[in-house]
């Protein structure tokens, strides 16, 4: 295929599409966590990226110091980091109830600085490798491309968790209870944070475990949330995956813009629909 003067091979196209879907998996999980917290508590968690990073680090610690495998980490890391998120809600955010929500944002901003600073202090800026679990090594030959098993797993796992979350919140009694009463903000906050930590574990074998991994992704996730519309569960999932793919395709066709394309889309959406694609008017 010849576009804009340079040849694009099929493997290159599918390769970037795959990377886009992987990034989209992380965007979807992270923006979903933000949407859950915002939709029920009216709080934007700026430390969300830091919790994502902690999820990856928790997996690393579990393996390093407790010898617990990836599969244990996939369950334990969201539980541990989610508990930390719940405690931080109890300790800090609860005290800001009744104040302008901007204070909550500022507070979580401070928390993000503390967490990131601490990890950078002990682990520097470089990444620690985390190997792919042996059950998920290798690749499938799809005929038109090779699909590494782990990458396929990340997309499936993310889609499954996103779908289950949507199902629970929108379609079950438990979800209705959570939505209606918001009686347990601590649990809701913990759950949103756990989604970020889950994304962190999935990301660990792909991006390495780095203190800066949360700060790198949070601005894009914010843009995804703005594009999708705040508080919309399904909106944040769809927007996350779609924008990951768009970003991947941009890398193929116009690599210079791949870092900024999500923000340009955000600007266009704001121009046309200030409440976001799936958002309801305030």
């Amino acid at each position: 295929m010849n576009l804009f003067g340079h040849m694009i091979t099929m493997p290159e196209l599918f390769g970037q599409l795959l990377i886009g879907l992987i990034n989209g998996s992380f965007y979807a999980l992270l923006s979903l966590g933000l949407a859950v917290i915002f939709g029920m508590l009216d709080i934007v968690n700026f430390a969300h990226g830091a919790f994502y990073m902690m999820g990856a680090f928790a997996a690393y610690f579990l393996l390093q110091y407790a010898g617990l495998s990836y599969w244990w980490a996939l369950i334990l890391s969201p539980l541990i980091v989610g508990a930390i998120g719940a405690v931080s809600e109890r300790l800090f955010l609860k005290r800001l109830a009744g104040f302008d929500p901007l204070y909550g944002l500022l507070l979580t901003f401070g928390l993000a600085l503390i967490i990131q600073g601490l990890f950078q202090n002990y682990y520097g800026a470089s990444g620690m490798p985390y190997s792919i679990p042996k059950q998920l090594t290798g690749a499938y030959n799809l005929g038109f491309m090779f699909l590494p098993v782990y990458r396929g797993w990340v997309i499936l796992a993310s889609a499954a968790v996103c779908f289950a979350t949507w199902l629970i919140i929108e379609k079950t009694k438990l979800g209705a209870y959570l939505r209606a009463a918001t009686e347990n903000p601590t649990m809701v906050h913990g759950f949103g944070v756990a989604l970020a930590a889950f994304a962190g574990v999935l990301a660990a074998p792909i991006t390495q475990v780095r203190p800066g991994m949360g700060a790198d992704i949070i601005a894009v996730v914010f843009a995804v949330v703005v594009i999708g519309g705040m508080g919309s569960i399904l909106g944040s999932i769809i927007t996350g995956f779609v924008l990951g793919v768009v970003e991947g395709l941009t890398k193929v066709f116009y690599p210079e813009a791949s870092n900024t394309v999500v923000f340009v889309i955000m600007a266009i959406v704001l121009l046309i629909r200030p409440t976001g694609l799936f958002g309801r008017a305030a």
Binding site: Y103, G110, Q116, G117, A219, A223, V225, N259, F263, L270
Partner: protein, 322 residues
């Protein structure tokens, strides 16, 4: 435009004016004697950041708009000023003016898009836009990526004021700072500022009274971008460089911290806060990443227990307006 008496707060009292005049005189006196006690380069840098914080405070303090991406104006103006002075050989005042003009244009475009949202949403949009500007600065050839623009000539302002003389540079930076400070103060105390405060207190009411709320917010946003740009461009001449740090997210966070520590919605709070945060960075630089941790702790402490900031507490205690 006349301010409707029903929404305008009480006029400044004569006591407020007197306190204001004394506070300003004290600040000018401190700036005049500071270089005899502290490293002048440090004071000049502090003044640039103080002006940056004043710009930020105009939005959060008087229009309740939290911008978490203000480094985009500060940093981009620094780059443009540095490039104009070094590559195009522009005279420093014109180089600064060019930096400010670019910041104004960026402020207009991003402001027009962001201003229709409020609160947390607005804050997230500013984060996203500033990240976009950051990536632009990483990729654009004229910024020289990780190296930044180094060895920016200070030159002769207006052709005859030699800014490479440290004392003349000090006076020049002081004048820029005091000018910017007064512009912000004047804007807040003008009918324009009163309407901003009215919008902050009760937006639907201001709207129903016929004020074009969005235009006022946009004007405040652009003015804030202009002052932030002025601070960034001046800093590029003081430090003779422009780098990715100036446009980075951590700089956006620092300006929030400065304003929060000093006191949001006070004239002198951002100045005091900037002095504290810049000193903290200087003296704690040897501890590396601990600076970030300490900044985070100060952030959390201020939000939980000290929301008025130093100057805000002081003013409340003395029952004056600062």
């Amino acid at each position: 435009m006349d301010v409707d008496a029903s929404i305008a707060p009480a006029d400044m009292t004569s006591q407020d004016r007197r306190v204001g005049a004394i506070a300003f005189a004290v600040m000018v006196a401190l700036i005049a004697i500071a270089p005899f006690f502290a490293y002048p380069f440090f004071v000049m840098q502090a003044m640039c950041f103080a002006l940056f914080a004043c710009a930020f405070n105009l939005l959060i303090g008087y229009a309740n708009l939290l911008s978490l991406g203000h480094a985009m104006f500060f940093g981009l103006a620094a780059y443009v000023c540095a490039h104009a002075a070094k590559v195009w050989g522009l005279e420093p005042v014109s180089a600064i003016a060019l930096g400010v003009a670019v910041a104004a244009a960026l402020g207009f475009v991003t402001g027009a898009l962001a201003i229709r949202s409020a609160g947390i949403y607005f804050a997230m949009i500013t984060v996203a836009f500033s990240q976009m500007v950051y990536f632009f600065c990483v990729e654009a050839p004229f910024t020289h990526g990780e190296d930044g623009i180094q060895a920016v000539p200070q030159g002769k302002a207006l052709g005859f004021i030699d800014l490479s003389n440290p004392w003349i540079l000090y006076v020049f930076v002081s004048v820029v700072f005091l000018f910017g400070f007064l512009v912000v103060q004047r804007a807040v105390n003008s009918p324009f500022g009163e309407i901003l405060k009215a919008i902050r207190e009760n937006e639907p009411r201001a709207l129903s009274l016929g004020y074009r709320v969005l235009q006022y917010k946009l004007a405040a946003f652009v003015l804030s971008a202009v002052i932030a740009g002025l601070a960034g461009a001046t800093k590029a001449l003081v430090g003779q460089n422009a780098s990715l740090t100036d446009v980075s997210f951590s700089t956006s966070g620092e300006v929030v911290l400065m304003t929060l520590v000093g006191g949001m919605g006070t004239f002198y709070g951002p100045v005091v806060g900037a002095l504290i945060v810049v000193s903290m960075q200087n003296y704690l630089a040897q501890y590396g990443e601990w600076v970030t941790v300490i900044q985070g702790v100060v952030f959390v402490a201020c939000v939980l227990a000290f929301r008025r900031g130093i100057v805000g507490e002081l003013a409340a205690w003395a029952k004056i307006s600062l």
